[in-house]
C-alpha cells in the first residue's frame, strides 16, 4: 500500500510536472512562466489528494477535516462585512497544528476551492489552494514549537498573512503579462500593504481568541476517540 503511494508521488513529481513544464515551453514560448507556475501549483496539490485516498480509518478523519474546513468557510462568510478580515488562515493553522501536515494542507486547499464556489472560480483557485495548503502544511511541521509557545503561534499567523499576500502578488504580476517584472511586483506589494496589514492583524486576533478553545476541543476529541 505504502509502496504504491510513493510510486504515485514519484511519478507525479518526476514525470508529470516536467512534462507539463516542457509542454509549456514548447507550445507557449511567450507566456511560459504563467503556464509553468500554474502547472506546478496544480500538481503540488495532487500528492496530498492521493495520500488522502490511501488513508485507513478514513471516515473519522474525513468528517473531522470537513468540520474544520466548513468552519473556516463559514467564518469567511460570517465576517464578510469586514473586507479581508477572515479567520480562514487561523483555522487552517490550528488544523495543521493539531491534526498533522497532510490534514493542514487539505484543510487549506479545500477551504480555497470551496469558498470560491461562493465567490468566483478562476485560474487563481489552484494558487490559493497551494498557498493556504502550504500554510497548513508548515504549521503541521512546526507543531511542536507552535503548541509550546503562544508567541510563536501569533508570529507564525502574522507571517503567514504576509506570505499569502506576497505569493498572491506574484500571481497577479504574472497574470498581467505572463512575465515576471520585478518593478511591477514591488509596486503590487506596496499597493497591497494595507490589505497585507489587515491579513496579518486579523490572523493574530483570530489566533489569540480561537487558539485556546479550538485546540482544547480538538485535543479532547482526539483523545476521546483515539484518532
Amino acid at each position: 500500500m505504502l509502496k504504491k503511494n510513493i510510486i504515485y508521488e514519484i511519478l507525479i513529481i518526476f514525470v508529470f510536472i516536467p512534462t507539463l513544464i516542457f509542454a509549456g515551453i514548447c507550445v507557449f514560448s511567450d507566456r511560459k512562466y504563467l503556464l509553468i507556475s500554474f502547472a506546478v501549483a496544480v500538481s503540488s496539490v495532487i500528492p496530498f489528494l492521493i495520500s488522502f485516498e490511501k488513508k485507513a480509518n478514513f471516515s473519522k478523519k474525513a468528517v473531522l477535516l470537513a468540520v474544520m474546513t466548513a468552519l473556516s468557510i463559514v467564518g469567511r462568510a460570517l465576517f464578510a462585512p469586514l473586507p479581508f478580515f477572515k479567520p480562514v488562515t487561523a483555522i487552517v493553522v490550528l488544523c495543521g497544528m493539531e491534526l498533522g501536515c497532510e490534514s493542514g494542507f487539505l484543510c487549506g486547499a479545500m477551504s480555497a476551492l470551496i469558498s470560491n464556489f461562493m465567490f468566483m472560480q478562476g485560474p487563481w483557485t489552484p494558487f490559493q489552494m497551494f498557498i493556504w495548503g502550504s500554510i497548513g502544511f508548515v504549521a503541521g511541521l512546526m507543531s511542536g514549537i507552535l503548541k509550546k509557545s503562544r508567541i510563536f503561534l501569533l508570529i507564525y499567523g502574522a507571517l503567514s498573512g504576509l506570505v499569502y499576500s506576497a505569493f498572491m502578488d506574484i500571481w497577479t504580476t504574472m497574470w498581467w503579462d505572463g512575465r515576471f517584472n520585478i518593478l511591477r511586483y514591488i509596486s503590487a506589494l506596496v499597493s497591497a500593504i494595507p490589505i497585507t496589514a489587515i491579513y496579518a492583524v486579523s490572523n493574530i486576533i483570530f489566533l489569540l481568541v480561537l487558539s485556546k478553545p479550538i485546540t482544547r476541543k480538538l485535543e479532547r476529541i482526539c483523545k476521546k476517540y483515539n484518532l
Binding site: L35, F52, S59, A66, A70, V74, D177
Partner: protein, 299 residues
C-alpha cells in the same frame, strides 16, 4: 427530457467533463495565445454569452469594467519601457506607444478571462466538480460533499445559538457563539463518521451517485473540442499566429493557415452563445404550445 431551472444557462446542461475541458481550452487560449484576433473573438463570444445568460446588464458594471480596462492600459507604459516609438518622457524614462497598446491588449485579455470565469462559475457548479473529482479521487469527493453539507447546517446552528443567547437575555458574543459552534460540530462529527462507516463508506469499490450521463452528444462535443484545440496548438507551434508587441508592433498574421485557426477558434468561442440561442428559442416555442406561463427572471 432536459429539465432546466430558470436561472440556469442551457450550456451548463452538457456533461461536466467536456464542459470543463471547453472552459479550460478557451480560457487558456485567450490568456496564452497572445494574438489580437484570437482575443477579440474570445471577447465577443464571452460578451455574447453573458448578455444571453444574465439578461439584465447594469450600466454601472459596464462603466466599472471600462474604468478597470482603462486603468490597466494607462498603468502598463509606466512599468514597461520597451518599444521604439517614444511618445514622451516621464521622469527620464520613455513612455512608448507599444507599451500603451500592449496595456490595452492585456486589459482585454484580463477582462475576457474574467467574463469566462464568471460563466464557468455559473456552469461548473459544485455537484459537477464533485462528479469530476469523484472519478479519480472518490474520497476527496466525499470530503467535499461533507463540507458543502456542513456549511448551511453551521450557518443555521450559528443563528440559533445567537437567538438563544438573545432569548436568555445574555449579552450577545459572536465569538463565544462561534466557539459553541465548534464544540457542537466536533462532537457531532464522530456520530456522522460512525454512521458513515456502518453504511459502508470505507468499503472498496464503492460507487458514487451522480446525475450525469455521458451521452453520444457529449462525446461528439468532446471530440470537437479536442480537434479544434489540436489545430490551434499546431498553428501556434508552427508560428502561424505569432504576433509581437516589442520592440515594434508586428503585422497581424493573415495567411490561410492563420485564418483557418481564427475560424476554428471562433466556432469554439461561440458555442455557448449558440447553444443558448438554439435552446431558448426551442424551449419558448414548446412552452407556448403547452401554455406554460413563463416568469421573467428576477435578481
Amino acid at each position: 427530457m432536459i429539465i432546466i431551472m430558470q436561472n440556469e444557462c442551457a450550456f451548463s446542461k452538457i456533461h461536466p467533463l467536456p464542459l470543463f475541458m471547453w472552459f479550460v481550452s478557451v480560457i487558456s487560449f485567450t490568456v496564452l495565445a497572445m494574438n489580437p484576433i484570437i482575443v477579440i473573438i474570445s471577447f465577443i463570444g464571452a460578451v455574447a454569452h453573458r448578455i444571453l445568460v444574465s439578461k439584465k446588464i447594469s450600466v454601472k458594471s459596464i462603466i466599472g469594467n471600462a474604468v478597470f480596462m482603462m486603468m490597466i492600459t494607462i498603468i502598463n507604459p509606466l512599468f514597461s519601457h520597451h518599444g521604439v516609438t517614444e511618445l514622451f518622457f516621464l521622469g527620464g524614462l520613455p513612455v512608448t506607444l507599444e507599451a500603451l497598446i500592449f496595456g490595452f491588449f492585456m486589459s482585454i485579455v484580463i477582462q475576457t478571462s474574467i467574463l469566462w470565469c464568471l460563466s464557468m462559475s455559473e456552469c461548473m457548479t459544485s455537484d459537477k466538480i464533485i462528479h469530476l473529482i469523484g472519478k479519480i479521487f472518490p474520497k476527496i469527493a466525499v470530503l467535499i460533499s461533507l463540507i458543502l453539507r456542513f456549511i448551511p447546517l453551521m450557518k443555521d446552528k450559528y443563528k440559533r445559538i445567537i437567538d438563544s443567547q438573545t432569548a436568555l437575555g445574555e449579552p450577545i458574543s459572536y465569538l463565544s457563539a462561534f466557539s459553541v459552534l465548534v464544540s457542537i460540530f466536533l462532537e457531532d462529527s464522530i456520530d456522522t463518521a460512525d454512521s458513515m462507516k456502518s453504511r459502508g463508506a470505507e468499503l472498496k469499490n464503492r460507487t458514487n451517485y451522480s446525475n450525469f450521463k455521458f451521452s453520444p452528444k457529449d462525446f461528439c462535443f468532446l471530440i470537437f473540442d479536442v480537434i479544434i484545440c489540436a489545430v490551434i496548438i499546431i498553428s501556434i507551434k508552427k508560428g502561424c499566429l505569432n504576433f509581437s508587441f516589442y520592440p515594434s508592433i508586428s503585422e497581424i498574421p493573415t495567411e490561410n493557415s492563420a485564418c483557418f485557426s481564427y475560424i476554428m477558434f471562433a466556432i469554439l468561442a461561440f458555442v455557448p452563445a449558440a447553444v443558448e440561442v438554439i435552446f431558448w428559442t426551442r424551449f419558448v416555442s414548446i412552452s407556448s404550445v403547452l401554455n406554460i406561463p413563463m416568469k421573467k427572471q428576477k435578481h
